[in-house]
Symmetry: C2
C-alpha cells in the first residue's frame, strides 16, 4: 500500500490539520471532530453535511462562503457520530435553524437524526434533507434505498448559496429537496481503492474488468464487464440515467411546525429530452482530468443528439473514493432558481468561483471573431 | 491499460474537444492544434504556453481571463510543433506583442524559438521566458539544465494577471523571469504512468519503492528509496529545495530592441528562512486530494519551525503526469507584486477564483469567535 500518510490511524486527523493550515478561515475542532466557518452572519440558516472521509473535497472542502457552514468527517468510509454533528450544529447555529444534508447510508441517516433530536432538545430547529441519487440501486419504498452520491455536490452548492442569500430554513430545505428529486447519478470503477486502516483493496477487478454502477465506497454495482472505450461507458451510464423510471420512496423529515419526525413521500420523475440540466462529470480520485474531459465530450455529444440542453457543467474530482480510478455522471434537471444559485459566488477550498463566472464566460464568447 | 479513452491516437484531440464543449468561451483550433480565448482586448500583451499533453489542467486548462491567451498542446509528453505556436500567436496577438512561457525541455525550447522567429518575420514582437525550476537536476551553464515543472503554474497565473492588468511585453517578461529565478520545485513518484500510445509503464517501481526527484514525464530522479511516511518524504523534498545552492545558467532571450537572440545569464539565489513564499502542493494525477493536504500539513509545520512565512498556498492537481501517483512541492519567493497578481481574479477551466478570495478569507478569519 503506497499512500502519502504516516500512521493510518491518524491519517484523517492529519489531513484535516493540513486543510486547516492551508485555510485559516476555517475552524477545525478535534474533539469531537468537525470543520466550520469562523465567520457566519447572524440570522443566516446554517448548513451542515458530513459522512465518511475519503471523498475529498467533499465535505470539508466545501465549507466556506456560499456553501457549507460546517462539515463532520467520520473515519474513512465511516459515518460521523451524533456528537460530532450536534456540537458542530451548536457552533454554527445563528438563530435561523440548521439544515442537515445527509447522504443516504444507514449510519449517516441514523446519526444525523440523533443529532437533530439533540438539537431540538436545545431549541435549535433542524431539518434533514436526504440525498439518494444513485440509479445503480433500484430499491425504493421503505428499503434502505438509493445511495447518496454526486447530487450531494449540487445540493451543497445550491442550498449553500440560497442560505447565503437569506433564504429561511424551510426555503433552503425545499430547494435542496427539489435538487435531490431532480438529480440522478451513476458511476463506473476501473480499479478499487484501499482503505488505509484495512490495507488491502476493497474489491478486486481483473486487469481488463470494470464495475458498472459502483458506489463511492466500492459497493457492488449492476454488472462487471470487460474494459471498454470511454464512449461506450458514457453510453451505458447515460442510458441508465435517462431510462430510469419514476422513483418513489418514503423518507423521514422533521415537521418544522410540530418538531416531530414524519414520513414524507418523494417522487423523482424520469428525465425527458426536453429537460435542461446542470451536469457533473466526476473523477473518483485516481482518474486524470484529461480523461474526464474525454467523458464530457461524449456526454455533450449524446445530449446534443437527443436535443437535451446542458445549461452548466462541472468537470473534475468533486466527490472521490480515495485513489479509485473511474468516473461518475450526475445530472440535475435545473430550473432558473437552481442555476442562479449554481452561478453564485462561492469561496471554499474545493469549489471557488467569482459570482460573474458565467458572465465573463459569455462575454469571452460573444466577442469572438 | 485501463484508460478512459477510445483510440489512443485520438485521445488528445478528443479530450480537447471535451474541454471546448465544456467551455464555449474557448476556441479550439484543430489544424494546427491550439486553444485560445475568444475575446482578448486590443492592446493587451498575449501570453502563450504549451508543451506535451498529459499534464492537465496545464496548459489548456489555464486559458482564460487573467491567465493564458493561448495554449499549444503536443501529443502526450511530446513538444508542440512550431506551426502550432506560430498560428496561435498570430491568432491571439493584439498589437502589444506575445510572451511565450516555455518549460525547459529541448524540443519545447527549439520549437518555441522557431515560432518566435516566424512571428518576428511577420512583425509580431515576441519574448521567450524559460521556466527551469526542478532542483532534482543539478546541471547549469550551457547544459540542457533544469526541467520546467510547477513554477510554470506560478508564472502563468502571475504573468497572466499582469498582462490582464495592462503590463507591457517587457514588464510581463521581467515579472515572469523574476518568478522563474525565485521558484524551486521537486517531486516524488509512487507509481509510473502509461502513455496511451505506448501502452506500458514509462518506468517500473517495486511495490515498496518510490522515486525521489521524478520529472513530470517520468524522467529519472535523484534516487530510489523504499516507501516512507509522508512526513519523511516532505522533509526530503524541503531539504533539497532549501539546501539548493545558487543556480546560474545561460538562456536565450529575445533582445526586444534589436529583435535578435542574445544569451542572458540568470541567477537563482538560494532560499533563506527569512524569505516569504507562495507554495504549491501538487498532485501528479493519481493521488487523492486528502493525501495532498497531509503533505501540506508537514510542509506548513516545517516552514513554521524554520520561521519561514507562507503567504499563500495552493493544494491540488495543477501540473499532472497522467495517472501517476505522487506529488511535488513548488515554492516561489514572492514579493508584494507577485502576491497581488496571484490574488487577482482568474476565470479558466483549471484555475478560477474571485478577485477577493483572500479578502473574503481574511474576513471569515477575523470575525472568529
Amino acid at each position: 500500500m503506497k499512500k502519502l500518510i504516516n500512521d493510518p490511524k491518524n491519517a484523517v486527523n492529519e489531513q484535516l490539520q493540513g486543510l486547516a493550515a492551508a485555510h485559516p478561515e476555517l475552524h477545525l475542532n478535534m474533539n469531537p471532530r468537525y470543520v466550520c466557518r469562523k465567520n457566519i452572519p447572524d440570522g443566516k440558516v446554517a448548513i451542515i453535511s458530513g459522512g465518511g472521509s475519503g471523498h475529498a473535497p467533499l465535505h470539508c472542502g466545501y465549507v466556506g462562503y456560499g456553501m457549507l457552514d460546517g462539515a463532520c468527517p467520520g473515519e474513512v468510509f465511516t459515518s460521523p457520530t451524533p456528537d460530532q454533528i450536534y456540537e458542530c450544529a451548536k457552533k454554527v447555529h445563528r438563530g435561523a435553524g440548521v439544515l442537515f444534508l445527509v447522504k443516504n447510508y444507514t449510519g449517516d441517516v441514523l446519526n444525523f437524526e440523533t443529532a437533530a433530536e439533540l438539537c431540538s432538545m436545545d431549541g435549535i430547529q433542524v431539518q434533514c434533507i436526504l440525498i439518494d441519487d444513485d440509479v445503480a440501486v433500484k430499491g425504493g419504498g421503505h428499503t434502505a434505498g438509493r445511495r447518496g452520491v454526486g447530487v450531494t455536490v449540487f445540493a451543497e452548492k445550491i442550498g449553500g448559496a440560497a442560505a447565503q442569500a437569506g433564504y429561511n430554513l424551510e426555503e433552503c430545505a425545499d430547494l435542496c429537496r427539489r435538487v435531490n428529486v431532480n438529480g440522478r447519478s451513476m458511476g463506473v470503477a476501473l480499479s478499487s481503492c484501499i482503505v488505509p486502516e484495512i490495507g488491502s483493496p476493497t474489491f478486486l477487478l481483473d486487469h481488463d474488468e470494470i464495475e458498472i454502477g459502483i458506489g463511492i465506497h466500492g459497493e457492488p454495482g449492476v454488472e462487471r464487464i470487460p474494459m471498454a472505450h470511454v464512449d461506450e461507458l458514457v453510453e451505458i451510464l447515460v442510458e441508465h440515467i435517462f431510462s430510469d423510471p419514476e422513483y418513489v420512496r418514503v423518507v423521514r423529515e422533521m415537521n418544522l411546525a410540530s418538531g416531530q419526525w414524519e414520513d414524507v413521500q418523494l417522487v423523482s420523475e424520469p428525465f425527458t429530452d426536453s429537460d435542461e440540466f446542470i451536469v457533473l462529470v466526476n473523477g473518483m480520485g485516481g482518474t486524470p482530468l484529461g480523461e474526464l474531459y474525454g467523458v464530457y465530450r461524449k456526454l455533450a455529444s449524446m445530449c446534443d443528439e437527443r436535443g437535451v440542453r446542458i445549461k452548466r457543467n462541472l468537470v473534475g474530482t468533486y466527490i472521490s473514493s480515495l485513489e479509485m480510478q473511474g468516473f461518475s455522471i450526475s445530472m440535475l434537471r435545473a430550473d432558473d432558481e437552481m442555476v442562479k444559485f449554481w452561478d453564485a459566488r462561492v469561496v471554499t477550498p474545493g469549489f471557488c468561483t467569482p459570482e460573474c463566472t458565467s458572465e465573463i464566460a459569455a462575454d469571452e464568447e460573444k466577442n469572438a471573431d
